[in-house]
């Protein structure tokens, strides 16, 4: 690629990427242009999670299908990939070739498994920190020369800034969806999620259960120990719910002493089991002081709208409360 074209290409990319703050859009737009920009087969992106010490893969080139996919929850522990860790720690690019026996064996094995011959790893650095990794991969055995590496580093600068901005934006948007005491999804978000879950269930025919929960005696806890004691009880309930949900369940705090869990694909028995598990956990966390009254409703012929589903579960929870609390009832409807 001629220098003039490279400059134009970089500027165009910078404009394209900065015109979105949605991470999937930013990543997608880069992926579409990566091969043309680098002259390599593809360029993959990962984000660095220093807390968990892993790389989270954002895109992956699939050789056999000749396309880039966006994998879900693909994590690479950095402990298993010392060469990658070096790239992130020292913020320096590194090349790996399958044909070079002295290169890192873990990286070479991974490349071979994917049907690739060469790799150029570059750190994505934003505001001084390594926020991720760009991997330029090629199906041919090739050496990236100094000009290639320099160009790719500039490319990384552009991509890193855009990815970082998108991540920051996602974080603050996420905050607006969360209840501040428990960090569960808030009422606003619950309503959106329930509506989507009801629509999905209607399309697919899959069951959908809703569990509504009222913490028992929150008023008394508040009166005795102040709002801080009340908050602690709310957080305990939230932890109990989080720890008892199945993968894909959505626990929310609706406000006051009220919580809910959306359970896609659950039967009444499965929903009751989640509730019983949460009740048990809450008892353990609160050393026997806290309990809740729960109600379960199932979406179906009788309960068509999200509101009907919610009302029915809420009434069941109310019956559980008037029966003395610390139990979960399933709506007869």
């Amino acid at each position: 690629m001629a220098p003039q074209n490279r400059l134009q290409a970089l500027f165009d990319l910078s404009r394209t990427l900065s015109s979105s703050l949605e991470l999937t859009e930013v990543v997608g737009r880069f992926t579409d242009q990566a091969a043309g920009l680098t002259g390599a087969t593809a360029a993959d992106l990962s984000s660095h999670d220093p807390e968990r010490d892993v790389l989270v893969q954002l895109t992956e080139y699939l050789k056999h299908e000749d396309r880039v996919s966006i994998p879900q929850d693909r994590l690479y522990p950095l402990a298993d990939f010392p060469a990658t860790r070096l790239v992130l720690d020292e913020q320096r690019p590194l090349q790996i070739r399958v044909s070079r026996p002295e290169d890192d064996p873990a990286e070479r094995q991974l490349l071979e498994e994917r049907g690739l011959q060469s790799l150029l790893m570059l750190p994505l650095v934003a505001r001084g920190a390594s926020i991720g990794l760009m991997e330029i991969v090629d199906v041919d055995d090739r050496v990236f020369d100094d000009h290639d590496v320099e160009f790719c580093q500039t490319l990384c600068d552009v991509v890193a800034a855009a990815v970082h901005n998108a991540q920051l934006y996602q974080q603050v948007k996420e905050l607006a969806l969360r209840d501040q005491v428990t960090a569960l999804y808030n009422r606003h978000c619950f309503e959106e999620q329930l509506e989507a879950a009801v629509a999905r269930s209607r399309r697919s025919g899959e069951t959908l259960a809703l569990l509504v929960i009222d913490l028992d005696g929150l008023k008394r806890i508040n009166d005795l120990g102040g709002h801080q004691a009340g908050d602690e009880a709310l957080r305990a309930a939230a932890d109990a719910l989080r720890g008892s949900c199945r993968l894909g369940d959505v626990p929310c705090r609706l406000g006051g002493d009220e919580f809910a869990v959306i359970l896609p694909g659950a039967t009444a028995e499965a929903a009751t089991m989640v509730a019983e598990r949460a009740q048990q956990r809450l008892r353990e966390i609160g050393r026997g002081q806290f309990s809740f009254s729960g109600g379960v409703a199932l979406s179906g012929d009788q309960l068509v709208t999200p509101y009907e589903l919610y009302r029915t579960a809420d009434i069941a929870a109310y019956r559980a409360k008037t029966a003395g609390g610390a139990r979960t009832l399933v709506s007869a409807g």
């Binding site: 400059l7 500027f11 404009r15 900065s18 015109s19 934006y169 603050v172 102040g226």
Partner: protein
């Protein structure tokens, strides 16, 4: 196509501006570059407030002196500046020269009063929408060539995108700090603000007052009239607080039936006056139906959580005493 120099300048600008999502930082970065890039003597960036039909100056830079006016910049009514309005609406650049008697008279007068002879106005367009105006001015009488204009448009593209991103970020951050029902700052914002005020009080020796408020009988209101009635009561309480605080006081909704007001520089008597005013406003707004229990605590040195605990305790005692009143520690 721009020359390699201009292209690398544009790339550098794009990279510099995308290194932050804070509007002020983006503008600061821009300011350092645009006048120099355009080879002109002054630059100004304004935001278009469509509802009020005004241009709000965010930042301007002249003759080496500069001023960042991100929050309370000067405003220009668009009906008085038809040429600017046209640039925004048609998304086309326009030039004004003092020496050209056919150019818009108002723009020329304004230009002259600022000590300039030539002006290039360009729309800032992000994702198809005009968000503001870039003005590039020169003390010399000059005509901006088509190449100049083209380059400045490319600069505007970069600036508009970065500004738009910063504005979206600001909106999202604001959403995360506001209670959705009442529009007051929420508990997350309250925790941060109280921490800041207590720290400042410890430094300055000025007291910080805290009023914690519990709406009386929200449970009964909810049980009687459903959540809509409860929501209306909460909004009435929020409005009463807004109408009763002094300038600089910060009313917040902490969640449920609980509100708070951070009163910088207030002693207990001052805080009680605010509380009484709010109690009266709430009674007036609801025909005497709604009331609250309030607690006041004041601190010079200490911790935010201690201050909150004291005020919350006082509010609890007010509630125990029958509600509809405010007690100080």
């Amino acid at each position: 196509m721009p020359s390699p120099n201009r292209l690398s300048a544009l790339l550098e600008l794009s990279r510099a501006l995308s290194s932050s999502l804070e509007l002020e930082e983006v503008l600061e970065q821009m300011l350092q570059r645009v006048a120099r890039l355009a080879g002109a003597t002054g630059t100004a960036v304004s935001r278009w407030d469509r509802e009020r039909e005004v241009l709000v100056t965010l930042v301007h830079h002249t003759h080496g002196s500069r001023s960042l006016a991100t929050f309370d910049g000067e405003e220009f009514e668009l009906d008085r500046f038809p040429l600017s309005a046209q640039v925004l609406e048609k998304q086309l650049p326009a030039q004004v020269r003092l020496s050209n008697p056919r150019d818009d008279a108002r723009e020329r007068r304004l230009l002259e009063s600022l000590g300039f002879r030539s002006l290039l106005m360009l729309p800032l367009v992000a994702r198809g929408e005009t968000i503001g105006l870039m003005e590039i001015a020169d003390v010399n009488d000059r005509a901006f060539t088509p190449q100049d204009v083209e380059f400045c448009q490319a600069v505007c593209d970069v600036v508009a995108t970065a500004m738009h991103n910063a504005m979206l970020y600001e909106q999202a951050r604001d959403m995360a700090r506001r209670d959705q029902l009442t529009g007051l700052p929420n508990r997350r914002a309250f925790d941060e603000m109280l921490d800041e005020h207590v720290a400042r009080a410890a430094r300055s020796g000025q007291p910080v007052g805290l009023l914690v408020i519990d709406l009386d009988g929200l449970k009964k209101i909810n049980d009687g009239g459903g959540h809509t009635a409860g929501d209306a009561a909460l909004c009435a309480a929020a409005d009463a607080l807004r109408a009763s605080v002094r300038a600089g006081d910060l009313p917040c909704r902490l969640g449920g039936d609980e509100f708070a007001v951070v009163l910088a520089g207030a002693d207990a008597a001052g805080a009680l006056v605010v509380a009484e005013r709010a109690q009266q406003a709430l009674a007036d707004a609801s025909g005497g139906v709604y009331s609250f229990s309030g607690g006041v605590a004041v601190e010079v040195i200490g911790s935010a959580s201690e201050l909150y605990r004291l005020a919350d305790d006082a509010a609890y005692r007010a509630k125990q005493a029958g509600g509809g009143r405010t007690l100080a520690v």
